[in-house]
Point group: C2
Chain length 355, copies 2
Amino acid sequence: MLVGTSIYELSTPVPVIDEAVVAGNIARVQSYMDAHGLAFRPHIKTHKIPALAEAQREAGARGINCQKISEAEVFADAGFDDILITFNILGAEKLDPLSVLNTRARLKVVADGRQTVAGLASQFSADQPLTVLVECDTGGGRCGVQGPTDAFDLAKAIAAAPGLRFGGLLTYPKPSSEEAVEAFFSATLALLAEAGIDCPVVSTGGTPSLYSAHKVPSATEYRAGTYIYNDRAMMRAGHASLDQCAMHVLATVVSRPTETRAVLDSGSKALTSDLLGFEDYGLIVDYPDARITGLSEEHAVVDLSACARKPEIGEKLRIIPNHTCVVSNMFDAVVFHHEGVVTRRLPVAARGRVW
Amino acid sequence: MLVGTSIYELSTPVPVIDEAVVAGNIARVQSYMDAHGLAFRPHIKTHKIPALAEAQREAGARGINCQKISEAEVFADAGFDDILITFNILGAEKLDPLSVLNTRARLKVVADGRQTVAGLASQFSADQPLTVLVECDTGGGRCGVQGPTDAFDLAKAIAAAPGLRFGGLLTYPKPSSEEAVEAFFSATLALLAEAGIDCPVVSTGGTPSLYSAHKVPSATEYRAGTYIYNDRAMMRAGHASLDQCAMHVLATVVSRPTETRAVLDSGSKALTSDLLGFEDYGLIVDYPDARITGLSEEHAVVDLSACARKPEIGEKLRIIPNHTCVVSNMFDAVVFHHEGVVTRRLPVAARGRVW
C-alpha cells in the first residue's frame, strides 16, 4: 500500500474514503449544529478511528459517543476524555473495567431501568462518581424508559445514589419524530424542574433527520455518526447526495458467467448483509442499473439485465454500501484518497470492540 | 479470560464453542466420507483457525479449502501445504502474492473464464507451475462455466498453458442437486477422456446436503466448512440437530423496556444480518419462542409475545446464529468450553482476510 498510487491498484475488496468528502461532511454538519446552538457529539461507531474523531473535535464537536466500553477504551488511550457510552452496562465483568475507565475520562453512561441503576450505584462511590443519563424510548422501539413519569422516577433514583450523578435525558429516536421527542423531553423536564432536579444535558441524535435537530427545542446536544461517511440509506433519507458519500467499497469483477450475470469479489465480508429496507446490497456507482441481488461471504452476484453497458472481467467498480458503519467493522484498516490517489491507510482501531 | 471459569462469567457478546460437539462433528462427517471413499477437504472459512484445521487433518481430511489468498497465507504460515483456493484470481496485485504462495504450498486455484486463465498463464511458468481446476456452474448461479462443452474448452486451455496444470473439475452446487452435478461432471469427463486429458480431481461440496455426497459417483473429493460448528440454517436443512450446533453466541439481556420486549447486547456486530431465508436473527436456545426481530450494531430487539416464561435483565442467553461462518469473521478470538467450563481461547487467525 503506497501513498501516491491510484486506488485502482489496490487489492480488492477494499473500502476507500474520499478525504475531501469527509472534510466537507464534518464541516457542513458542525456548521448546522453551531448555527442552532446545539452541542455536537459525534458517534465514533461509523469510523472507529481516533484521527477522524480528532478532526471532528477540531471542527467544534464536544466529546464523543461510543457504544461499548471496549470502544471507549480505545479512544481514552488516544487522549479523548469526554466520552458518552450509550449502552446499559450490567454485570461485574463490565462494571469493573467501567470504573477503571471512569478514572481516565469524563465518562457518562445511560440507564433505562432500576436494575441497571442499582448495579452502577453499587459499583461507584462519591469520591469518583459516575454520570448517568436516563435513556428514553421516544418511539424508536429499542431501549429506553417508556414515558416521562418513568424517566423522572429513574432520574430521581440516579440523583439519590451517592456514587452516581444524574447527567440528563437521552434518546435514540425514530427518524423524523421530532414532535414526539420534544413532547417526551419537555414533559420530563417539567417534572424534574418541579422536583428541583437539574438536568444538565438533553441529548438526541441520528443522521437521517439530522437537519431537523432544531425542531426539538428542549435538546442541548445532538449525536450522529453516519454523516461523516454517509451511505445509500442516508441518500434515501434525503440526508446526503451521491457526492457526499465518502466511502466506496472498491470491488473487482471476477466472473461473467452469463450475459446478464457478473460476480464481484465483495461478499458479505465486505458489504455486510445489512439491507436496511433495500432489496439489494449496495449501489454500484459506475453501473447504477446493475443490482447486487445476492451475497455469499466472498462473492456478490450482480444482475446486469437492466444495463445497456456491462462491466468486464477485471474491471474495478465503486460501490456505495447500504450501511457504511458496519462496513468499517469488517476491515482492520481503511484507505483514504484524494481524487483517487492514496493519501493514507488508517487502522480501524476500535473494530470488533463489541463488549 | 481464565481457563476453568464458567462461560457465564465472560463479558458478552461472545461466541462460545463446545469442544465435544466440534469433535463429534469432525468425526461423524469424516467417517461418512471415508465410508464412501471420498477425499474430504474442509473449508476453513467457518472457523479460520489453524488448530481446528489440524484436528480435521488428524481425523483424515486431505488438504484444506480457502477462499482467498490472504486466508491461504495464514494457513501456509501454520504449516498447511495442500491448499485449494476456490476463487478466480485476477490482476497483478493478486497474481504476485499467488506466485509467492505457490512456492510455499501445493497450491490449487480455480478458473471459470478465458481471461482468468490467461492471467494465470502469463504469471506462471513450467518450472513452478500452478494447478488450476475448472469451476462449473451446475445450478448454483454464482461463478462457473455454464456447460460441459465450456468446461472442456477451458480445461484444454489450461492444459495447453506451459505454466499451468489442469487440476480437475469443481462445483459449488445448489443443495440437493446431486443429479444435475453428476450430469455436468460425467458429460465433461467423457469429453476429457475422449481428448485424452486426465482429470485428477472431481470436487463438489457444501454442508447442507453433505450426506448425499455419494449420489455424485463421478466426484472424488468433497468440500465443506459449516459442518464443524453447524448453525440454524444447517438444522433447517436437516444436516444437524440442536445438539450438533457447536457455536452459541452468548448474549446478555440489557433491557426489558416493555412486557413483551427484551434487548440483548448481541447486535449485527455479533450475529450479523445474515437471514438466509429466516425472518429473524438466530434461535435463542433458552427461550425458543422468543424472536429476534431486529438488529442494530450493538442491540438485538427480541419479541417475547409468544413466551410463557420471559428472560430478566442481566440474564445470559445462548443463541444459535443463522449462519455460523460469518459470526466467526466478526471476532478476533473465540472461546472454547467443555460443559460450560472454558478450555481455551483461540485467535480467529484468518479473520477479515478478504483478498
